[in-house]
Symmetry: C2
Subunit: 136 residues, 2 copies
């Protein structure tokens, strides 16, 4: 995985470790990163992203806790086959919808037009259908 | 505005003031709350949501800073006409896309199926088009 695939904003309120974990999670979910792939060494990625190495280590730990990575000492971080998570409850789906609504409201309040937002949603809906194809 | 319109999760990592501001912003952007509407008194909403009154006050201040509310002492919080924000830059749109991608990856990793996610996106895209109609 090339560090250029990871986009973080050091001026954001979202902690950098959270952003890095979120970026790598998106690569995992979409199938860009697959079981067996090696992640860059913590210190190398930290230099590339201009963050402390503990920040990268924390992001890797979050993903390991979620079952995506194997972090055995001396072997580096490696993507492992992850068993499918249990189907989310209704509450989980409602929670997603709530966060999506807030994200959209924030973007609209910041001046992104309704047309652009709707277009982005449609594009992402199409991308997700390709994830589903990749799985089967 | 009835407190039942505000959905917050006190067990979430997102601070309650941020959630409350996000919920009210969604009501403002979608036109459920309009210029001239009064918001509930801080202490009343705090009781209804089971949070400290400072938490509600902080949410109201965030929205006042964004130009949505007038908080003059003794008059309560009232929605004011807000001038349209400047059109967001390319960076703002990319930032939205990044956050959307991360939100989707997190939901997928938690077991929400690609079909459900795509359906939700399509639904929200339709809702947004109705916001746009309300504006004109």
């Amino acid at each position: 995985m090339h560090a250029k695939l990871i986009h973080i904003d050091l001026s954001s309120e979202v902690p950098a470790y959270d952003q890095i974990a979120g970026e790598i999670r998106a690569l995992l979910v979409s199938g860009v990163l697959r079981a067996g792939d090696a992640l860059p060494p913590v210190r190398q990625l930290a230099i590339d992203l201009n963050v402390h190495h503990n920040t990268v280590a924390q992001a890797y730990r979050i993903l390991a806790d979620e079952g995506w990575l194997d972090l055995r000492r001396g072997r580096g971080a490696r993507v492992v086959p992850r068993s499918a998570p249990p189907q989310t409850s209704k509450k989980g789906r409602q929670n997603f919808s709530l966060h999506l609504r807030r994200l959209l409201a924030k973007a609209a309040a910041e001046g992104i037009s309704a047309d652009v937002l709707a277009h982005q949603l449609t594009l992402h809906a199409r991308t997700i259908k390709n994830w589903a194809k990749g799985d089967s």
